[in-house]
Symmetry: C2
Subunit: 312 residues, 2 copies
């Protein structure tokens, strides 16, 4: 049996007239008669009772009409379903977010935009550390992730630069610098410097150290934080000072003060990472939307997420 048989059968069953059904199908009446006859022979039973004026359905024909309609509808739904899946309009994206990237307004904006454009793609957000996310990406456990990457192209992963934001100093409220709104980085000489654990993101760690050396001092290492985010409450607790991406200023924790860095400003990038060989349409769409929402800010020397307080 082929779908043609069912399509023809439904047409005849609805018209109860071979000639009209054939016209509706855009074929001649004789081939239609033949196809119906074939169907009847294959099923071993009459489907229509041929009367002088048109035809009528036999009980078996009535049953087949119900079934055929269901099948044809299902085929149609399968077609559009597959097409939509291919366009990335349905499906699932497990989306990681690390390094406190979700505090940058661009990230929720991207996610919001994607959800609006692709409401039938189920997003599974997952917050973790950049290093863990990279590993899970490789392992196929997640599909994409917002990260502050160490290298621009780790094996097999594609990275799309979205943000390049300046970092800011963060000190306890009652720190001598607490009344200022900016300071040179070297003000941190001899201050206990809270850092993101090196194992989890060597690049970030090293860039911070390098920034200090650039500013002319060797940071006095204080306690380590497992992620960027916990650095803030640790500073609030008076365990030391640190520098963090400007977007974490969103965390208006009582007890901490953010200062813009005078002089050469270290910067931190946010990229969207996914497997390079992942041709999945939803991920492609996510990347496209991310780049679009990031807009002009995607350049290698991209701006911060707002009025760029960068040094000359």
């Amino acid at each position: 049996m082929e779908l043609r048989h069912l399509r023809y059968f439904v047409a005849v069953a609805e018209e109860l007239n071979f000639t009209r059904a054939a016209e509706r199908l855009g074929i001649g009446q004789p081939p239609l008669s033949l196809q119906i006859r074939q169907l009847e022979e294959e099923l071993g039973t009459q489907l229509f009772r041929r009367k002088a004026r048109g035809v009528e359905l036999t009980p078996a024909g009535k049953l087949l009409l119900e079934e055929a309609r269901i099948i044809l509808r299902q085929v149609e739904q399968a077609e559009t379903g597959v097409r939509r899946r291919a366009r990335g309009e349905t499906g699932r994206v497990i989306l990681g977010s690390g390094g406190a990237t979700y505090f940058h307004p661009l990230i929720p904006a991207i996610i919001r935009e994607f959800s609006v454009r692709y409401p039938d793609v189920v997003l599974h957000p997952q917050a973790s550390s950049t290093a863990l996310l990279m590993a899970r990406l490789h392992a196929g456990q997640i599909d994409a992730a917002f990260v502050r990457p160490s290298v621009d192209d780790s094996e097999g992963l594609a990275l799309h630069l979205l943000v390049d934001e300046p970092m800011v100093m963060v000190v306890p409220k009652h720190h001598p610098l607490g009344t200022k709104s900016s300071a040179p980085l070297r003000s941190f000489t001899n201050e206990p410097f809270i850092l993101y654990a090196r194992e989890l993101n060597p690049d970030y760690h090293d860039r911070v150290i390098a920034a200090c050396r650039d500013a002319g001092f060797e940071p006095r290492l204080g306690p380590q934080a497992p992620q960027i985010l916990p650095v803030i409450p640790m500073v609030a607790a008076g365990l030391g000072v640190s520098i963090v991406p400007e977007s974490t200023r969103q965390i208006r924790l009582d007890g901490v003060v953010y200062l813009e860095i005078e002089g050469k400003v270290p910067r931190s990038r946010i990229s969207l990472a996914h497997r390079r060989d992942d041709r999945s349409a939803p991920v492609r769409n996510l990347v496209a939307i991310a780049r679009r929402v990031a807009g002009g800010r995607t350049g290698a020397a991209g701006e911060g997420w707002r009025g760029d307080p960068r040094a000359p």
Copy 2:
């Protein structure tokens, strides 16, 4: 899209190898490749990712695999469903029963046998009077009925004789005849004779009267009963005497006594009636089973349902 595409697709998706799938389908590999390509073009997307060693499903392919399996299963079920319906193994029969026919053991035996043989045919039993059942048959409200018919072939209805049973006399317990086990019909001379209303089954009525005249007397008409069945309690109530089909002896009502008729014994027939133009398979099957269960008793001069107490 045709079912062929789906069948081929599922084979490839299951084997993940065009060559093996083609073997399984009993076709060559090149045509299989072509059909899959056609399907992909129609859907506007790749369904397989061709790798050096075999192929793998794309996300759209995975979705289509699920859908295709469902569709193919549904097509199969539709086929077998239609075949079964055509054989009368599924469906519905509205089955009337009139004239107290259901007290003849053959009737429940037929119904039981039919239910066992065709467990998926839903039987809707309906007890009524013979005349009403005939009308409903004509109107298509019921499909078949056990009746004690007046004529052997009313317009458009086919009748299959199942039973030809003797009638017996029924008298109140304290009637002078109440101690006997048989009597001549003329013992009813001058007794009030309870009869089934003539309008509802003229034939039955007339045959009873004729039997009395044969026996040499004119029955003295007593009260009328709307159906055969209520005759028995009316006799028990002392309203008169009557004759009833032997099978109603099953009703062992306190206060009535049944007597075999000596001499020429009037008889009553049970037939299975259905519309002559009704080719519905379940009805055909019901007729076949009824004739089989009725066995040798179907002859025009068929026996009673047990040891035939017929006059010579």
